[in-house]
């Protein structure tokens, strides 16, 4: 009873901190019996999911209209540098995202992780929950010091999760690349905070908010933040780690990285650009918008030609992050021209798309995990026909597929709709060139959204439809019940947001109120949104769903009543060709061929085509990222060359090192004296 009373009087912030501690405790408990799968998977992961639900609940509390911002100083950290935490609507929204999606992933993980796949389950449990806790702490942090500590913990714990199967060299390589990019980004963030304090040397966000920076320094801080968070989120050209690290990690971890960690980067970008820097001149928005649009198109085009299902999803994540940043840039742009309602619309689109992407991308990554467990195959060329062997996973993945393709009445459509509405209003920007250039961004968004549909048909069609491309697929089994519950939870989120979009927008209203001081217009009902004006544009997912379902039901009954429902099972017609082998179907390469053809200059293509008189004809094609060969490898060569040049200093003799210290000392003394 006392505990209940204590909980009732505790502030949401205090409860959240306890929940984070609970996550850490769950993680540590995993070490008690690291090899007992029953202990770790059946007890600890579901416990973690419960904690995640509670985190989501607390986040939702912070979004209610009458919630006042809460902050606290923790008795942790360095003596003069205690940790500050704060809960406001922005962190509340991202905690809601983290908790609700994290709960689904944790339930799935409870059924997914098993003995003998690299790291011991107990250790995995620790890394997993430290990862979750560190993400929550990044969102709660209210000073640069805690922010960076949590940020680095997040990077490290996810690095260990990525390299779960560290015995494979390519996974170690992917992990190293990820760690490298994470630290390049973190370095930029460190510098960014170094600029933000504005000479006061106080590391709390409060003092950074109050600091007045000269335009040049503010711009420097913004660019550093864009670089740092962009590296984490996967903006072009800093995206190279994503398609390596996501496939290397176990599927629940890929889902967490793509669904949650990328969103933490979006949170950081919002926190710094809107809250700490109070937005800036219009070119900030223009730059973010341009980078976002390029990233979106790039990701979509590359996703279309992938042959590994998890790489395909990783590129699709790049695309979606691009859309989120484009919306964010649009919000910055409109804010710079003091068009608050329009900025609120764009920001709402960005936040809703972040939430939607977290839901459907996690769902799809988890579904690939089930497929991977059932078939031991990641390559699209060796899958197929799984809808008949794995009906549960296939059905739930279909929801995610249709959402990601941006089809009504699911959630992906709502955020794209909002984004397009925001673009439509940009001609009212009072600037001669911008109001002409920016609406054309809608063309890129439309193209990207349509490409996403292409990619998703390929993804779903090649994995789940058609005939099995390998005989072993006939033995594939459906996912266990815990995995199904996890998938169903996320699929339910996709459907609910799609059908009741206004309910999601209500949650976001608190964030736009905090950051921009305004909210978009409220729709007439939870299932009806009208962000600008009812006569101008409105959309109701529920009515659309009811309309379609009604037509389908009426038609079904009519056909049965007036005619019949007789079915004869026969072998497929296939235009009269007698034999039908799985090799006759389109391959993943074949499905991507039109895109490869049309967007040729995007890719670096290596082809090996057999000559007519080859005894063993072999066809091979490799599609690479131009950035990798054009930017990263030369950079790596320069770094290697510099290191070689500097290694002259390294003589391996103690006397010479002593000489170096002596010389340094003298030089410093010259400066001091």
């Amino acid at each position: 009873m006392a505990a209940v009373n204590a909980l009732a009087t505790a502030t949401p912030l205090a409860v959240l901190l306890e929940l984070v501690a609970a996550w850490l405790l769950v993680g540590v408990l995993g070490l008690a019996r690291p090899h007992r799968i029953a202990w770790v998977a059946r007890l600890l992961f579901p416990l973690g999911a419960l904690v995640a639900l509670a985190v989501a609940g607390m986040g939702a509390l912070a979004l209610s209209a009458d919630f006042a911002m809460q902050s606290a100083v923790l008795p942790l950290g360095l003596p003069d540098l205690p940790f500050h935490v704060r809960l406001d609507a922005l962190s509340g929204f991202f905690l809601l995202l983290l908790g609700s999606v994290g709960a689904g992933i944790s339930i799935f993980a409870a059924g997914y992780f098993r003995q003998g796949e690299g790291t011991a389950p107990g250790l995995l449990c620790l890394q997993y929950h430290v990862f979750l806790a560190s993400m929550a702490m990044v969102i709660l942090a209210d000073d640069a010091y805690l922010f960076m500590v949590a940020w680095e913990t997040m990077a490290l714990s996810s690095y260990f999760l990525v390299t779960t199967q560290h015995r494979l060299p390519e996974i170690r390589r992917a992990g190293f690349l990820y760690l490298l990019m994470a630290h390049v980004g973190a370095l930029a963030l460190l510098l960014c905070f170094g600029v933000l304090h504005g000479g006061s040397w106080l590391m709390t966000f409060d003092s950074m908010r109050a600091a007045t920076l000269s335009p040049a320094w503010a711009a420097a801080a913004f660019l550093l933040a864009l670089f740092g968070f962009g590296a984490k989120a996967g903006l072009v050209p800093l995206h190279v780690w994503l398609p390596e690290a996501h496939p290397a990690a176990p599927s629940p971890v890929s889902a967490m990285m793509s669904g949650l960690m990328l969103k933490v980067a979006v949170y950081g970008m919002l926190r710094i650009s809107f809250d700490l820097l109070h937005a800036g001149p219009w070119w900030w928005g223009m730059l973010t918008l341009a980078v976002g649009l390029v990233t979106a198109l790039f990701g979509a085009v590359f996703a279309a030609v992938q042959t590994d299902m998890k790489r395909l999803l990783a590129y699709s994540s790049i695309e979606n992050i691009g859309l989120i940043f484009a919306a964010l840039g649009l919000a910055l742009l409109c804010y710079a021209f003091n068009m608050r309602p329009l900025a609120a619309l764009a920001l709402t689109a960005a936040l809703l798309h972040a939430l939607n992407h977290a839901l459907f991308k996690s769902l799809l990554f988890l579904a690939t995990g089930s497929v991977l467990h059932a078939t031991n195959e990641r390559s699209l060329g060796k899958l197929g026909g799984l809808i008949r062997r794995m009906p549960w996973v296939a059905t739930l993945a279909l929801v995610g597929t249709l959402s990601l393709a941006g089809l009504p009445p699911l959630n992906g459509f709502v955020s794209e709709w909002l984004l397009l509405q925001a673009f439509l209003s940009t001609p009212s920007i009072p600037h001669a060139f911008i109001n002409m250039i920016v609406p054309l961004g809608a063309a890129v968004v439309a193209l990207t959204a349509a490409l996403a549909g292409y990619v998703m048909v390929k993804f779903y069609g090649v994995i789940f439809l058609g005939q099995p491309r390998e005989p072993s697929l006939m033995q594939a089994h459906d996912a266990g019940w815990l995995e199904r519950v996890g998938l169903a939870w996320l699929a339910l989120g996709c459907i609910l947001i799609g059908v009741f979009p206004q309910a999601a927008l209500d949650a976001i209203a608190g964030v736009t109120q905090t950051l921009l001081g305004t909210v978009i217009q409220r729709g007439p009902a939870p299932w009806w949104i009208a962000p600008v004006a009812q006569a101008q544009a409105s959309y109701s997912g529920l009515w659309l769903l009811l309309g379609m379902a009604g037509v389908i039901a009426v038609m079904f009954v009519l056909v049965r009543r007036m005619y019949h429902g007789r079915v004869r099972r026969v072998s497929p017609w296939n235009c009269g060709y007698p034999e039908l082998t799985p090799r006759m179907q389109d391959t993943a390469e074949g499905f991507g061929q039109p895109i490869r053809h049309m967007f040729g200059p995007f890719f670096r293509i290596e082809r090996e085509v057999p000559s007519p008189d080859d005894q063993l004809p072999r066809y091979r094609i490799q599609i690479d990222d131009r950035f990798w060969h054009g930017l990263y490898l030369p950079l790596a060569r320069i770094v290697g060359w510099l290191a070689d040049a500097l290694s002259v200093l390294q003589r391996g003799r103690l006397a010479i090192y002593l000489l170096y210290s002596f010389l340094t000392l003298i030089v410093l003394l010259v400066f001091v004296l």
Binding site: F413, A450, G547, R569, P572
Partner: protein, 317 residues
Amino acid sequence: MNALALVSQLGGVVLAVALAPLLAGWVAQCRAWLQNRSAPPLLLPYRTLRKLFRKDAALATQASPLFRTAPYAVFGAMVTAAAIIPSVTTDLPLARVADAIALVGLFATARVFIALAAMDIGTVFGSMGARREMMIGFLAEPALLMVLFNAFLMFGSTALPTIVKGTLDADGLTLHPSLAFAGVAFVMVLLAENARIPIDNPGTHLEVTMIHESMVLEYSARHLALIEWASWLKLFNYACIGFTLFVPWGIAPHTAGPLGLLLAIVWLLAKLAVAGAVLAVIETVSAKLRIFRAPEFLSMAFLLAVLGLLVHLLLQS
């Protein structure tokens, strides 16, 4: 919302569903006349539907539930789309439920379902057709959206009834240059999306060149009937979108009574007759493009629509 609005909403949907096969029959007849063939009966599509509904469905052994659901989903999406296009009257209660962007979304839903169903059996032509359909679709969809954007920017709304009202309320006939670009782009999208001649041939019997037909090769009986009906409805919907954007005259305004609605139906029939004949002419005078040229055709439509957008923004500022 009054009773008349509800009746006209429901009536509009029924009218679209009922008239769509007639439009298809009319286009086929015009085509035959222009090509010096003896024309099939105007009501042939209705007879085809009846024939198909009566037959037993022959389903491939490995067909999944998705394969059987898809025809209903495609038909449902197309009928819902018909419900939000102001073909007869602008007084559509459902038009506030879904605007023109949602309309594009509904078309995309239908396309994705039919492409997925085509891949379900795992035949040669099914998956090839699905790939080609998605290739056409991913270029046609943004082009259509850009065409609609031209109208949105002009009237500041994505709701189709508002766009119609905007054109009807304007004094006199003003020619907008941006709409000219958009119009050309729209016709190109219409041809591509409805499997018409420069891109696809609705009457073809050569599997290798098919797009739409190769996707539905495995369908039979009632499933095929629904898919065919849905594709005719799609043509009808596209024609009506064209009317709302470019020739909205004759569509009954909010204030129209029952007599006005009847007049609007006559107008619609007249416009459909002309549009069908024009479509037949276009199909007769043009040759089918190689499949590899289809992306060029569609990217031109996309660029034209974007150009229209640019022209509008340039003239406005």
